[in-house]
């Protein structure tokens, strides 16, 4: 066994031990040990993935035999190593955060289960990425789905969470069903369950592509399959939301990339489809997020936006690859992967931060927050780093990956096809709008949550969270800044020379400029001109929280602009006392926000399925005679079939 194998096996064993330990010994210490184990395994995985990414070595592992004919193999290459790095980086922070966070669960049993399932969840995601063939992939994919489902249902007594769990369960099962179909059709094509080069005509790959695109799209939260995210994330504990949004969505992206990169000759419409779906997800995600005032739901919508950005990158990669512009194709692919990595970090940071805020105030409603920066200064600083990064501001990592995608767009004039050019210009403008709206979104989120005065007594009484939780948030925050500052060096180390600006230099210039401005402001003008007083409140003597911007108020202008997309329905009924309708008696008025996808897409499909099932269920009438009749008819049909058709 060489060093690499030793690393990966000990990481897996540590995660298994972390799963089992809290179930065997029900104590605070065993939970702590379980998270220490996941922390250790993530360090091992970081080293493992780092070595593979740096050396480009592709170690192969011996196969385990599941069942006769079904081998389970582990395999790693640079793609999976990149995603292992992502898993490890997020786990690092989450495991420290959870040590303290898990202790706030309602009962001892729930604490143990949460600790165990967190480890299982991490393990299953790791194994999906490590799986060398479809069998292992699907098995661990399902374990991943089920363990996360149980974590979403962690607080299963609440009605809202039950609904979220059911929603998530249905969507994730659909995702697995599509993946299964996709893999089966690939299997029937290649005759092998191994992942490998798919050198087949595109026509025979259309069905697998569509199935896998849908399956992975559902899991990644691509519009229009995104509705489970805003339900599941608020229901799950925050550390789990961080893992789900940060890692699980990326595992879906990994699966999709694994398929896409193995196809020798993809087709242009694939790229166009992915690009359009990505752009649509990005813009709709951020537009829905702006209106949201539940902090975790807002972050969930923002995840949809970022998944959209990643898919945009993937779509651009395909388009440029097929148009023969290799340099841009590489840039967009690396951009997409780097954004996946960055999003994992800042979104887990934001979810952990949101968890701290919710923990301190006891509510998820942004309208109830305010002034938390004075009460939770460290959380606020860390949350600010996350917000800056997700808004794509330099010198953080979010800026770099979005910049890469923008660079691809800016250089797209190399493409001769006029129709494609138009498409790229349209998607570019939507993409730019997305970035701007994302910045506005996080100005709102940070401003309403942390600045000004507390709006409620919950916010007023909030206190800083315990140190482990802060430390857990510090790790992804540090990653956000470091991977931003050293982005060009990191990418160069991995062998990508993409011509992106040196962020370290930019960061230094930025810092120097800020310092100079501060010095200039401080030293210019007479010292007397400076006063430290309360902000002028229009002559009103006491400042009051009701004077502040509310979350809804802040987003109102944007809501007005995008009124068409939100599709509010205003309806009213009036009852009159007389027949001529002149004396008004009473009536109702209602402003209803149409949940477009839910009401126009999900519900019709669901009711159609329900209708069919209720028809089918009539066949199950609970009578023995009927069942024998079915057997009888089946036998006769089989006989007729074999005689005439087989």
């Amino acid at each position: 066994m060489n060093l690499l194998e030793a690393f990966i096996y000990s990481a897996i064993i540590a995660l298994i031990a972390g799963t089992v330990l809290p179930l065997l010994y029900h104590s605070k210490n065993s939970r702590k040990a379980s998270f220490v184990l996941s922390f250790l395994s993530s360090i091992l995985l970081l080293i493992f993935a780092g070595i593979i990414l740096y050396t480009g070595k592709e170690p192969s592992f011996p196969a385990f035999r599941f069942l006769p004919g079904l081998d389970f193999t582990l395999a790693t290459d640079r793609l999976s190593a990149g995603f292992i790095l992502l898993i490890a980086a997020v786990t690092l922070g989450v495991s420290i955060y959870s040590v303290e966070y898990v202790e706030h669960a309602k009962s001892e049993a729930r604490k143990d289960i949460q600790a165990a399932l967190t480890n299982l969840f991490i393990l299953s995601m790791l194994m999906v990425v490590l799986a060398g063939n479809m069998v292992g992939f699907l098995v661990f994919w399902e374990i991943m789905s089920l363990s996360s489902l149980m974590l979403v249902l962690h607080d299963y007594t609440s009605e809202e969470n039950k609904k979220a769990g059911l929603f998530y369960f249905i969507m994730t099962s659909l995702s697995t069903a599509f993946l299964f179909m996709g893999f089966m059709s690939l299997f029937s094509l290649t005759g092998s369950a191994e992942f490998g080069q798919l050198d087949y005509p595109t026509s025979s790959l259309t069905l697998p592509f569509l199935c896998l695109f849908t399956g992975f799209g559902i899991k990644a939260g691509l519009v229009p399959f995104h509705k489970w995210l805003p339900y599941a994330h608020p229901a799950a504990p925050s550390s789990i939301s961080a893992l789900m949004s940060g890692v699980m969505l990326k595992v879906a992206i990994y699966g999709f990339l694994r398929f896409l990169l193995s196809v020798a000759t993809p087709e242009l419409w694939w790229g166009t489809l992915i690009l359009i779906a990505g752009t649509l997800s990005a813009i709709l995600g951020v537009i829905y997020a702006i209106k949201e005032s539940d902090i975790k739901r807002l972050l969930a919508y923002s995840s949809i936006e970022n998944i959209g950005i990643i898919f945009t990158g993937i779509g651009l990669y395909l388009i440029f690859k097929l148009e023969g512009v290799e340099s841009l194709a590489l840039l967009s692919l690396v951009g997409a992967c780097f954004h996946a990595f960055n999003h994992a970090l800042f979104k887990s940071l934001l979810f952990l931060g949101a968890g701290s805020v919710v923990h301190a105030t006891g509510t998820r409603n942004i309208e109830a927050f305010g002034g938390l920066i004075k009460r939770m200064p460290y959380t606020a600083t860390l949350f600010l780093i996350g917000s800056v990064s997700i808004a794509g501001l330099p010198p953080t990592s979010g800026f770099v990956s979005e910049l890469m995608i923008f660079q691809v767009y800016f250089n797209s004039s190399a493409i001769p096809d006029p129709l494609l050019k138009v498409l790229l210009i349209i998607t570019l403008s939507v993409f730019a709008l997305t970035s701007a709206l994302a910045a506005a979104l996080f100005v709102k989120l940070f401003g309403i949550t942390f600045l000004a005065l507390p709006r409620t007594k919950y916010a007023h009484e909030a206190t800083e969270v315990p140190k482990p939780m802060l430390l857990g948030e510090t790790i992804p925050a540090a990653f956000c800044i470091l991977s931003g500052l050293f982005s060009s060096r990191i990418l160069a180390l991995l062998g990508f020379d993409l011509g992106i600006p040196d962020m370290l230099l930019l960061g230094l210039i930025l810092a120097a400029a800020c310092g100079l401005v501060w010095l200039a402001v401080r030293n210019s003008g007479p010292a007397k001109a400076r006063m430290s007083k309360e902000t002028w409140g229009c002559g009103i003597l006491a400042q009051h929280p009701t004077m502040e911007y509310t979350s809804a108020g802040f987003s109102e202008p944007l809501v007005v602009i995008f009124k068409k997309i939100y599709r509010t329905e205003i309806s009213s009924t009036r009852i009159y006392s007389d027949t001529r309708e002149s004396i008004f008696k009473n009536g109702t008025a209602r402003i209803h926000l149409i949940k477009f996808f839910e009401e126009r897409l999900y519900l019709p499909v669901a009711s159609a399925v329900s209708l069919v099932s209720s028809q089918v269920s009539k066949m199950q009438n609970g009578k023995l005679d009927t069942y024998v009749l079915y057997v009888f008819i089946a036998v006769l049909t089989l006989m007729t079939f074999t005689r005439y058709f087989a």
Partner: protein
Amino acid sequence: MISSFLADPAFLEDIIRILFVFVLITAAFTLSTRNIASLLTVYAVQSLLLVLIAEFLYLIEGNKTLLAIAVLTLVSKVMLIPLFINLIGEKIKISRDLKFNYLEPTASLLVSMGLILLAYVFLSGFFNEYVLGKLFFMGAVIGLSLTLMGMLVIFSRRKVITKAIGYLTMENGVLLFGIFVADLPFIIEILIVIDLMILVLLTTILAIGLDSTIEEYHQHLQTLKIWSGRDN
């Protein structure tokens, strides 16, 4: 003189063909007879016919297994099982099974004609044309249709006892099929007979324990329904 007839294969084959017709007639009775005592007699007669068929076939082919099957069938199906069921019948004091599910006797008879045709058409697909008139082919067809008719009895009749007889008829069909086509090993024959004994014992428990109809058993099945549908 009789012995010279018994040595003549052509004569024996004719006899067996006649016995086939009788087997079909007993099956028709099983489908339509309402009186349980006569149903039982019909079953015993049907089994006896099988014994005779096996016997005559032994005379033609000289295969000892056939003789063993004949003896086994005589003991178990002509004597023991009818005796058992008769005991149950006396205990539960039900002499008639009047109601039918899905198919009334007339319709059942029509359907069973269709079944014989289907069995013929189905099996003819597997053999050459010149085999179609051969004895073993006819045996297979009759065996298969007897099995299907037994199944018809199971779902079209209400009482547990008649259902059990339907099952026994099915097994007779399998036996007939086995004698002519598949050449079942004798040990499997014995195992099947043991199964039948157990079936009859279970039927006893079911019939006496549950008041002879399986309505209550249905209620148990009802509780197994997973999806109750939206509108009920």
